[in-house]
């Protein structure tokens, strides 16, 4: 079952307008502009599609909330600031099938009453930027964007904006601040962007992958979509498989797929002996080989004490030191914290220092309790998802691999010889 990668996985598909049209491209937009915004939003709602960026907010509700607002102008923003380590799915869509995103954003614009959209691209996505820029031009030339699209009264344009290399700008309100030309820092929520978004106007922000599902839902109906995969969180998901796996890559699979099946059937098995999996990137809790039967969807992984995030499945074999891994995760968040709120700015810094000291054999057993407490306080008090999830991986590493930590601290020994003790 392919929805998002339907075109991309076809032999010889070039991703330009001609080939997109050949595969039925812009039919959904055509259908959309001849129906009402309520009809479209009702289809999206019945599809039970949730956001694919990590927060899993119901897309239909988001659109409906913006559509109901009487404030104008409204905006559509595509979050293409794909910065989570181990995530590379949005890039694939942007580079190989850019018209899918353009079409979906236009449908969103039509249904909420917006005439302007932005794609906020990760700064390093040079190639994606060029391809998307060309695609927007093509769409403008053929009136899939611009004034009176396809003979309707609906006008819509898309501007591209490139980020400056801050992970936090993947957080929707920090993204908006950055898009407005300010330093990217999360805003106080509520109000949510659907009420007060870009330039204080109602704004729908969706992830690239979320948008990529829209045309199919419009054409085939919400009910069709809701029957795919796990009933609680239906559809397909793009899983970015990386690390110690034989066949790394992006896999589109129904949300009912078990982690074990992804690793063995699609990923071609583990390279070496499995130690742990980060199912949702460095923000998620580690899973061990005893937990591989979990289905890779938002509710199931939450129940299993982890999270799907953006779908960055990172496989770790037993050649890696878990303390070193925890240290690297903490380093990442220390580096990427925007610095606005105390817990994230100071907490990630201290977590990193403590973990560095443990890797040097200078740790203390009480450090582990302090790290656990730090994780709880960061989860409880940080302003945005970055800080709230920053120490998830560290915490789960300590809980699931206590012996390795204790060896580093008490015996001053890294059994794999990785840490500089």
């Amino acid at each position: 079952m392919k929805i998002v990668l339907k075109n991309i996985e076809k032999q010889g598909y070039k991703g330009d307008l001609e080939s997109y049209l050949k595969e039925g491209g812009y039919q959904a937009l055509k259908k959309a502009v001849s129906s009402s915004s309520e009809e479209i939003i009702s289809e999206i709602k019945s599809s039970k599609l949730v956001g694919r960026g990590g927060a899993a907010f119901p897309t239909g509700l988001k659109w409906e909330s913006a559509q109901k607002s009487k404030e104008f102008p409204k905006y559509v923003v595509c979050n293409a600031d794909e910065g989570e380590p181990g995530t590379f799915k949005d890039r694939l869509i942007l580079e190989k099938d850019p018209h899918l995103i353009i079409e979906a954003m236009a449908i969103c614009g039509f249904s909420i009453g917006a005439e302007e959209g932005f794609v906020y691209l990760r700064g390093e996505y040079f190639k994606g930027y060029e391809i998307l820029k060309r695609a927007v031009q093509e769409a403008e030339e053929k009136n899939f964007l611009g004034k009176n699209i396809l003979g309707s009264k609906f006008s819509f344009k898309i501007d591209l904006y490139r980020g400056a290399g801050a992970y936090v700008c993947g957080e929707e309100t920090a993204l908006l601040d950055s898009l407005e030309g300010r330093k990217g820092q999360s805003r106080v929520k509520p109000p949510f962007p659907t009420f007060v978004g870009f330039k204080t106007k109602p704004t729908v922000l969706n992830n690239v992958e979320t948008f990529a599902n829209i045309p199919a839902i419009i054409l085939k109906g919400g009910e069709w979509f809701s029957k795919i995969g796990c009933p609680d969180s239906p559809g397909t998901k793009l899983y970015c498989l990386s690390g110690d796996i034989n066949k790394p890559g992006v896999y589109e699979l129904p949300t009912s797929i078990a982690l074990k099946e992804l690793l063995e059937r699609y990923g071609g098995g583990i390279r070496g002996k499995l130690k742990a999996v980060l199912p949702g990137g460095v923000s998620s809790n580690l899973l061990t080989d005893k937990e591989l039967n979990v289905a890779l969807n938002y509710p199931s992984l939450q129940k299993a004490g982890s999270m799907l995030g953006s779908g960055a499945v990172i496989v770790i074999n037993n050649s890696h030191c878990i303390v070193d891994l925890a240290k690297r995760c903490a380093e990442f968040f220390d580096y990427e914290s925007c610095g606005k709120c105390t817990p994230c700015r100071e907490g990630t810094k201290r977590a990193r220092e403590i973990l560095v000291s443990i890797t040097k054999g200078e740790g203390d057993l009480s450090d582990l309790e302090l790290l656990k407490e730090l994780q709880e306080v960061l989860y409880d008090t940080s302003r945005c998802g970055l800080g709230q999830a920053a120490l998830n991986a560290v915490r789960s590493a300590i809980e699931k691999f206590p012996v390795e930590f204790e060896e580093h601290i008490s015996k001053k020994k890294c059994r794999l010889g990785i840490c500089p003790i």
């Binding site: 106080v188 220390d334 990427e336 709120c341 700015r345 000291s357 989860y379 409880d380 940080s382």
Partner: protein, 594 residues
Amino acid sequence: MITLIIDNQKVEVPEGTTIFEAAKKVNINIPHLCYHEALSIYGACRVCVVEIEKRPRLEPSCATLVEEGMVVRTNTARVRRARRMLVELLLANHPEDCFTCERNQICELRKLAYDLGIRELRFKKGRKYHYEQDISSPAIIRDPNKCIQCGRCIRVCSEIQSVGVIDFVNRGGKTQVLTFFNKGLNNVECTTCGQCILACPTGALREKTVVDEVWEAISDPKKFVVVQTAPAVRAAIGEEFAMPAGSLVTGKMAAALRRLGFDKVFDTQFGADLTIMEEAHELIERIKNKGVLPMITSCSPGWIKYIEHFFPKCLEHISSCKSPQQMFGAIAKTYYAKKIGVKPKDIYVVSIMPCTAKKFEAQRPEMRDSGVQDVDAVLTTREAARMIKEAGVDFINLEDEDFDEPLGISTGAAVIFGATGGVMEAALRTAYEIVTGKTLERVEFEQVRGMQGIKQAEINLEGFNPVRSNSEATSGSPAGTPNGVNLKVAVAHGLSNARILLEEIQKGTSPYHFIEIMACPGGCLGGGGQPMPTNEEIRKKRAASLYLEDRNKPIRKSHQNPAIIALYEEFLGKPLSEKSHHLLHTTYTKRERY
């Protein structure tokens, strides 16, 4: 109205209230750092977090609005643990030099750490910061090492003062509060008003102190050291000695300063009366001679620097009068020096000011009309109190003493210079009598008093008919009526209010003839050099004391000050005379934007 439960108590508050405010209704002051009552909500320190039923995480009470039926707990084990951890994290990044810190006694971070029961620092000091201090400004020192990034200074600078010379720079643990391209406060539009110091919870911002220079001058037998104290100091310095806010301590202050060893204890209020003489006459001259109107007061050096940077095209609206501090300095080193037979260079003039910008003003190159620097050292109210403490003077139990003559003699009009609207009121008392030739029976101009951001009034100057006829009156000039001129005046305090009046002038829509502007909220009594805390409530108390002192003064009009009359007779001639122009008036400079 919204009903919610806070710590098992039912609270009813209007929609749009935050949990933080609602909690105050049941006498709970939720611990906080980045929250500031006069500023926008920032929600970043997270110290004010509370537990809300059915919410997965703790929420910042300052940034969370109440909802019907909400159940809030402000003091659970989870909340206490989070608050302690957050403050511990701030301490882990903070220099451990409380002993020698300016804020030793009044640091909000230190107090919070104590109140929350933090008795151990669990985070080892891994990363120490050795940021350079910004000492470029003549008035304010910034120590980034002590900054906890609450953003209060940034918000007061942009929101209250509409200056905006500092902001957050860099990311994560490297975040700092800096000036534009780290040029230093002296090299950007900083007005040196010092409101950032009052807003800062720690020792990251402080005045550039000159206490040691003053001690040195006092102990130098060759120097004749005179001190002048601004009106607003007498209504505030008592707070430094644990007296109630706004205690009026004029007599104790004069006594204490004498104990410190000053040769003469004088009063800036003498300078204030003199300012009124010159300024009232300048206003009348401008009206008569079609000068530039509205005329704007020039007593507040933060305000002067602000207009020089932001509205240089409006500089001709500013009165050419020096401020009372500088008029005093110029007279002390000429008239008074001659009177006592001391050379100007041997007189050392110390000012005690509620203000940090006065430090900047004293160093302006224009302020050397006596041939040497007119005012040698400027102390804030806080620095003066520290000297009194250092000398072991038992301030509270001192008997009242008077100022020395003649530069210590002043009127009620001068006292109220310390409150917003006071200069306007004092000027009106004098201008009215000069132009109408009648006695002003009711001297209180209530319309220009109080804490409203911009106040306006219209005063009829009975019988005052400037030379020109009505038809000649151009926009901006008061129209003569058969009953005399109707003078339209406005008073603004806080530079964001000043900006509103300035924008009107720039657009040519300003209806006023005379405007008083003070840089700081509440006027000088809310100045950046005043005791901490300084807030709305305290500002009102200080103002009440100044108006009380005015009421109790036997003379309440500047032009009736006998020492001022003598000064004109013996030395200056008349207001706006050549000598006055040389010593008491100044010019202004266009400054850059960055």
